[in-house]
């Protein structure tokens, strides 16, 4: 039973407690002595046991980054917290505590075994992140709603579940219900579920499960659809032509244009609008398709480039490896020769030879690397030129298409203006159609108002078009710059790394030779 913490002194997880625990549970005997000498870093610890310590609050565990197994059972913990850093955790034992709600487990994606036995939990939730969960122990809690079981259906790997000692276990249907709703479960309350029970349970709850399944399937399908749509949009976005495969832009032009909407109710304007819309959409679709095509082109360009660079680097590495292998073979021979040699002058001569060998290797490797750097630089520059050209061409073409849009808009504007003027004339004459609404009538009081209204509508439209164009151009340009930057940066990084590697190796070889020298002298 849960300890009452007023009868005992609650304790805090502090450095001393952790050190003690780590020391006790660490390596033993000879290895233990070594460990003591060196000290163990918390971040190297794989398993930690902190049971029966009257811990009230989980704290100070953030250093244990690589911890796999954590036991905090038989304490007086009230809240699951402070475990966010332990992302490698596979096994977590929090049984015999005073936890009331499940929480704070959202980062533990690797968790397979979770024990919350003998706590005060009343509902199962907040476990969504634990996709690998296999064993879940929730016995002796206060779970009283069967619907909690349905929540567990999402854990595909769940094989073992214990729920005994909860109010729901009183229900006569308890076992059957669980077997039916969790068909992959193998052990329930520490007992194997036999096939017969499974069949009976399934038969019993057949209809409700079918319904549930249907609902789940529908949900799944919807999710997939959503996903597909998102992916599609993402693809369009990478081509910088999203929402151009329809009337979206056109609609957005009129969305904020109150005057335009009012004007469209004028006789003749709606037909005009229809024609305008059709033409506009056609141009938009043109842009869209062109954009996708260009995206494809850029992609193949990039792929070829990557492939070629990769090949070049591989080839270069192979050469380097061959050189090193050859060197090592020779080096090993000469080292053993030096060891066996007795005459001091000879030894010195041989050591000298060795060191020249090493510097020769260094030169050779560095030459290779420099050569590769040069070659790659050339290739990268070529690629940069090509991709910038491609982008430029694309922008140019899109701009010309957009200009067509603007022309259409201008044309439409003129027409609308014409109609408006004529309507105004009519209005002045007083023979306006009766069926025009008050709002519209308000526009036709004098020439300025009318022209302004039409002009405002036109301005809004142009602004929209310009915005779209600007967005496209900026985005593609920034993409291009980023790409080129990244390629340059990567190449520099690669070069740095290789040079460092070569230096490290050469240093090691030299120090090995030096050591040999010293030891010889000492001998």
């Amino acid at each position: 039973m849960n300890r009452l913490y007023d009868s005992m002194e609650p304790r805090v997880i502090d450095d001393g407690m952790l050190k003690l625990a780590v020391g006790e549970q660490g390596p033993q005997e000879e290895a233990g002595e070594l460990a003591k000498q060196e000290g163990i870093l918390f971040k190297d610890v794989l398993s930690l046991q902190l049971d029966f310590r009257n811990i009230l609050r989980i704290d100070n565990l953030w250093q244990f980054e690589s911890l796999r197994k954590l036991q905090l059972d038989n304490n007086i913990i009230e809240k699951i917290e402070g475990l966010e850093n332990l992302t490698h955790l596979v096994w977590l034992d929090l049984s015999f505590n005073n936890i009331e709600t499940i929480e704070g487990l959202d980062t533990l994606v690797n968790l397979e075994d979770l024990s919350l036995f003998n706590n005060r939990i009343s509902s199962i939730d907040s476990l969504d992140a634990l996709v690998k969960l296999q064993v879940l122990s929730l016995g002796n809690n206060q779970i009283d709603n069967m619907m909690n079981i349905i929540y567990l259906r999402r854990f595909r790997c769940l094989r073992t579940l214990s729920l005994s000692g909860n109010p729901i276990c009183e229900a006569e249907d308890y076992k059957m219900f669980i077997c039916a709703y969790l068909p992959d479960l193998v052990y329930l309350d520490f007992r194997r579920i036999d096939d017969h029970t499974k069949e009976v349970a399934e038969a019993k709850h057949h209809y409700s499960i079918e319904e549930l399944k249907h609902r789940e399937n529908l949900m799944q399908a919807r999710l997939e659809e959503e996903q597909a749509r998102r992916e599609e949009l993402e693809k369009h976005k990478t081509a910088f032509v999203e929402h151009l495969n329809g009337s979206f832009l056109f609609d957005s032009m009129y969305a904020e244009d109150s005057e335009g909407n009012k004007l469209s109710s004028l006789p003749g304007v709606s037909e005009l609008l229809e024609a305008y819309r059709d033409k506009f959409v056609i141009i938009c679709v043109n842009i869209f398709e062109y954009g996708l095509k260009q995206q494809e082109k850029r992609k193949t360009e990039l792929d070829t480039f990557n492939e070629c660079v990769h090949e070049a680097i591989q080839e270069n590495q192979e050469q380097g490896k061959r050189k090193i292998a050859k060197f090592e073979e020779k080096h090993l021979m000469s080292l053993s020769a030096i060891r066996e040699e007795l005459e001091m002058p000879n030894i010195e001569k041989m050591i000298l030879e060795c060191s020249t060998d090493i510097s020769e290797l260094f030169d050779a490797l560095m030459t290779l690397e420099m050569q590769l750097v040069e070659q790659l630089e050339e290739t990268i520059n070529m690629f940069e030129r090509n991709i910038v050209d491609l982008v430029g061409l694309f922008v140019e073409n899109v701009q010309s298409l957009m200009a067509q849009c603007r022309d259409l808009e201008n044309h439409h504007h003129e027409k609308v203006l014409e109609i408006s003027i004529s309507t105004l004339e009519k209005a002045i004459k007083g023979d306006l159609d009766e069926d025009l609404s008050e709002d519209v009538r308000a526009l036709f009081v004098d020439k300025d108002t009318t022209v302004n209204a039409v002009g405002a509508s036109h301005d809004i439209h142009l602004l929209k078009i310009d915005n779209r164009e600007d967005e496209l151009v900026t985005r593609i340009n920034s993409w291009c710059t980023r790409l080129v930057d990244k390629i340059h940066r990567d190449e520099i990084m690669r070069n740095r790394k290789r040079v460092k590697e070569i230096n490290l190796y050469i240093d090691h070889m030299k120090s090995e030779l030096d050591n040999l020298e010293y030891s010889d002298i000492l001998d």
Binding site: E30, L34, T304, L376, L504
Partner: protein, 873 residues
């Protein structure tokens, strides 16, 4: 050249006589069209020809005596069917036709050799060659294709040379006789082969022509053995990959072009010289190998098989030499000319010139200019529609039309030869006595029937260094159905290397075992079927001081293990039973990349220097690196200068890490690694030791297997499988007994009485009753007779006994002990007989009424009487 001259002469003569004979020819011609002979310029004078003739007549042909002649005396003709001994009227007619044809032919072409049309068969009856062909499809699937067919014929028959190498034989035996005696000349060979090929659907023809000496004598000593020819390695040309758009430019070439060119020139010169030398050598060798010129070149008669394209997906015309079963192109220079050819339907004479061997011949049998046919059959090959079509003028066609009408009626009669049959035993044994030796150029091939040799040897190829076949180069022996799965044994005599090849299924999963001696710890290579082994071992190589093993597909990714052994330490108290393994100096193990581990933690190679107490580790190289991490552990002293135990010091482990990591610097980590490696070292040593033991075991097993060489017998092999034979015989016996019993139960009681009645009539009721009564009374009588018989015997026996007893009583005093013994034994025997008879009588008395009743019951139930009797009762 002789053939050329002959031809020329022949043509000259033909030319001269052609005009004179035109008229007569036209009248007599029934089945032949005018023969057109190609005109050629003649350059030879009559004198030279005469000289030649003289020379030719002086040449004597040596007939090899060691080959047994296949004469008529051996053949038993008494058992042959009547079709062999007589001719049907149709055959007679055919023979007349053939005679007529032959006459016309010899008239028109007097200088060509007489046709080979109707040689005598084994019963001295002339038979037309086409009827000697008996198309037969063999019941063995192996004989469906031409190559296996030809191989069978060449294996099955022993070659007998022609009695006169310049003439076709006078006799042509039926294929059945040839098969029975398993020998024949080239005509017998090709007749049999042609029959089989036509039977399995080929467009095959027997050819009567001229062959080279090698061909006629089945002399393969100038041919390279097909088994020694190594298959040409197909050199895969690497496809040149088109340089991609962004392929990096190669670094600038700083070598002097001029120097390169000079170098190239020099190289070329050297190569040219080398080539020249090789060529000369080759020529010299060729010269040496070339046969002596044959005096009878072009005159030697040979018979072979021609297969025309079209049927059975044969793409090209080709020849098959029935002696050697080899196929030749129709251009091959072994074939020097064709006189005639025939299949089971027709007979064609070659009207083309053979001055250039068979190279210019066109095998379009529908072309009457090139091929003169004998029977105007409807199913002869149609002339192919090439430009030759214009060669036939329309008049001829019109003329021929009415002739065709007459002759169409005559078909080739059915073959007189009995069905060709090959028993399964003969088919399996193949060669006469199951053994055949074929000499080749620098090689000898021996073949045996399966199960003939106790050790399963089926063929052996011996390769020699020289043409005379004295110095053996290597021997290859093929085995079959051996229990140890040995398939091929290859012995190289020059290096002394022996290589055994195994089929899958050896208890040790052996695949190849090559060795020089069977002693352990010597040079040897053993390859395994790695899928059959748990440890995935592919190959184990041994030299006197090392052992190398190659693995594949292991879960620990071990791919290679190499062990160096030191010299054996002499033990002072060496007992023979105790094994004394050699000390291991060094073990090298290599591992493949384990994709589950990061490269810098995945060991690529570890070396245990056992003697120096050192362990070297080399890790795998990460994909973007060119250097690999290394680690070396030294285990020098366990105790430091002050006597304290050293657990681990930094100088015990020399590390090079490509990307230095924090945790690996710790002594704890190094200590744990070292402990782990120590364990591994122990395991590896144990493994090496076990491998050694396994080699010993394999060697022992191999020796045993060589000793015993048991052969496996398929359970379907009913003849050889003793177990199944016994079982089958037992089954047959049971069947036989069962049959006997059935016959007994079916014994008809009524039969003797039914016979008395008129047959075919239905029984009347009265007859039925009478029948029944008769039957019963007869049976009663028999029972009584039997009883009487037993009674009589019994009485006789008793009387005799009494007499004997009387006699004994009388002469009891004078009897010798022997007589007395005799008497006593007689008495006991007689008593026994009497007792038995008494028992029989009693039994008979008991059973007789029952038997009677049983018969009555049976008669009641008998379907023949039952109805009537039931009505009666």
């Amino acid at each position: 050249m002789e053939v050329l001259r002959e031809k020329v002469e022949e043509e000259e003569a033909a030319e001269r006589e052609e005009a004179a004979e035109r008229a007569e020819w036209a009248r007599t011609e029934k089945m032949m069209r005018p023969v057109e002979v190609r005109k050629e310029e003649t350059t030879l004078t009559q004198e030279t020809l005469r000289d030649l003739e003289k020379k030719l007549s002086e040449i004597r042909i040596p007939v090899s005596a060691e080959l047994p002649a296949f004469t008529k005396d051996i053949i038993d003709i008494s058992m042959l069917p009547v079709s062999y001994k007589t001719n049907t009227p149709k055959e007679e007619q055919l023979l007349q036709l053939a005679d007529n044809f032959s006459r016309q032919y010899s008239h028109l072409c007097p200088d060509r050799v007489p046709l080979f049309l109707h040689p005598l068969n084994e019963c001295e009856v002339p038979k037309f060659v086409s009827t000697t062909l008996r198309p037969t499809l063999m019941p063995y699937p192996e004989l469906y294709n031409w190559d296996s067919c030809a191989q069978f014929v060449s294996d099955f028959l022993t070659m007998v040379p022609l009695p006169d190498p310049l003439k076709p034989p006078s006799h042509l035996y039926s294929s059945t006789t040839v098969l029975k005696y398993q020998k024949g000349n080239c005509f017998d060979f090709s007749t049999l082969l042609c029959s089989m090929l036509i039977g399995s659907g080929y467009d095959a023809y027997c050819v009567n022509g001229y062959g080279s000496q090698d061909l006629c004598h089945m002399d393969l000593t100038r041919e390279v053995c097909p088994l020694t020819v190594k298959p040409k390695e197909t050199i895969k040309r690497e496809e040149k990959v088109l340089p991609k758009k962004y392929t990096i430019r190669p670094p600038r070439d700083l070598c002097s072009r001029f120097e390169q060119e000079q170098e190239m020139k020099r190289q070329q010169e050297i190569r040219a010289q080398e080539e020249k030398r090789l060529k000369e050598e080759e020529e010299r060798r060729m010269e040496a190998e070339k046969a002596n010129p044959d005096a009878l070149h072009g005159l030697r008669v040979h018979s072979w098989v021609l297969v025309l394209s079209g049927k059975r997906e044969v793409p090209e015309n080709f020849f098959i030499d029935p002696f050697t079963a080899r196929s030749y192109s129709t251009q091959d220079e072994h074939f020097l000319g064709i006189e005639s050819l025939w299949n089971h339907r027709n007979y064609w004479i070659n009207m083309q010139d053979c001055w250039n061997c068979c190279k210019d011949l066109i095998f379009d049998l529908g072309d009457p200019v090139r091929w003169e046919y004998m029977l105007l059959g409807t199913d002869k090959p149609v002339l192919s529609l090439t430009e030759d079509y214009s060669g036939i003028n329309d008049e001829d066609d019109v003329e021929n039309l009415d002739k065709e009408d007459e002759d169409k009626s005559f078909d080739m009669p059915h073959s007189w030869v009995e069905q060709i049959e090959i028993s399964p035993e003969a088919f399996e044994t193949r060669c006469p006595n199951g053994k055949k030796v074929i000499p080749y150029k620098r090689a000898k091939l021996e073949k045996w029937a399966p199960y003939l040799n106790r050790n399963g040897l089926v063929s052996r190829l011996t390769t020699y260094e020289d043409l005379e076949c004295t110095n053996i180069l290597e021997i290859k022996e093929w085995y079959q159905s051996r229990e140890d799965m040995l398939e091929l044994k290859h012995i190289n005599k020059t290096t002394g290397l022996k290589t055994d090849y195994f089929k899958p299924g050896h208890p040790h999963a052996l695949r190849v075992h090559s060795y020089k001696s069977m002693q352990p710890e010597m040079d040897r290579v053993i390859e395994f079927y790695e899928t059959a082994r748990v440890d995935g071992l592919i190959k184990r190589e041994e030299t006197p001081g090392t052992m190398t093993e190659y693995y594949q597909g292991r879960s620990d990714f071990l791919s290679y293990r190499h062990a160096d052994f030191g010299p054996r330490v002499k033990k002072l108290t060496l007992s023979s039973t105790e094994s004394n393994p050699r000390p291991i100096v060094k073990i090298t193990e290599q591992f493949l990349r384990n994709p589950a581990k990061p490269a810098e933690e995945d060991v690529a190679e570890r070396v245990f220097l056992v003697a120096e107490e050192r362990i070297q580790l080399r890790y795998h190289c990460r994909e973007d690196h060119i250097t690999a991490s290394k680690r070396e552990f030294l285990r020098r002293s366990e105790v430091d200068s002050k006597g304290n135990k050293i657990i681990m010091t930094p100088d015990m482990c020399i590390t090079f890490e490509v990307e230095p990591m924090e945790h690996t610097k710790k002594l704890l980590y190094q200590y744990e690694t070292l402990m782990h490696l120590k364990k591994e070292e122990k395991l590896s040593r144990h493994q090496v030791w076990e491998s050694e033991l396994e080699v010993l075991e394999i060697l022992k097993l191999r020796e045993e297997e060589e000793e015993v060489h048991t052969l496996t017998i398929s359970i379907y092999d009913t003849k050889r499988n003793e177990k199944s034979k016994e079982y089958r015989e037992a089954m047959e016996r049971v069947m036989h007994e069962e049959h006997l019993r059935q016959v007994e139960t079916q014994l008809d009681y009524l039969a003797p009485f039914l016979v008395q009645l008129p047959p075919g009539e239905k029984l009347t009721r009265w007859q039925a009753v009478r029948l029944k009564d008769e039957c019963l009374s007869d049976f009663k009588q028999r029972l009584i007779n039997k009883a009487n018989l037993i009674q009589a015997r019994f009485e006789k026996e008793t009387q005799e006994l009494q007499k004997k007893q009387q006699w004994y009583q009388e002469n009891q005093v004078t009897l010798t002990p022997e007589d007395e013994d005799q008497y006593l034994s007689y008495c006991s025997q007689a008593m026994f007989r009497i007792r038995i008879l008494e028992q029989r009588l009693n039994r008979h008395k008991e059973l007789a009424p029952l038997k009677y009743l049983a018969l009555e019951e049976k008669l009641h139930k008998d379907p023949r009487l039952g109805e009537l009797l039931k009505m009666f009762t």
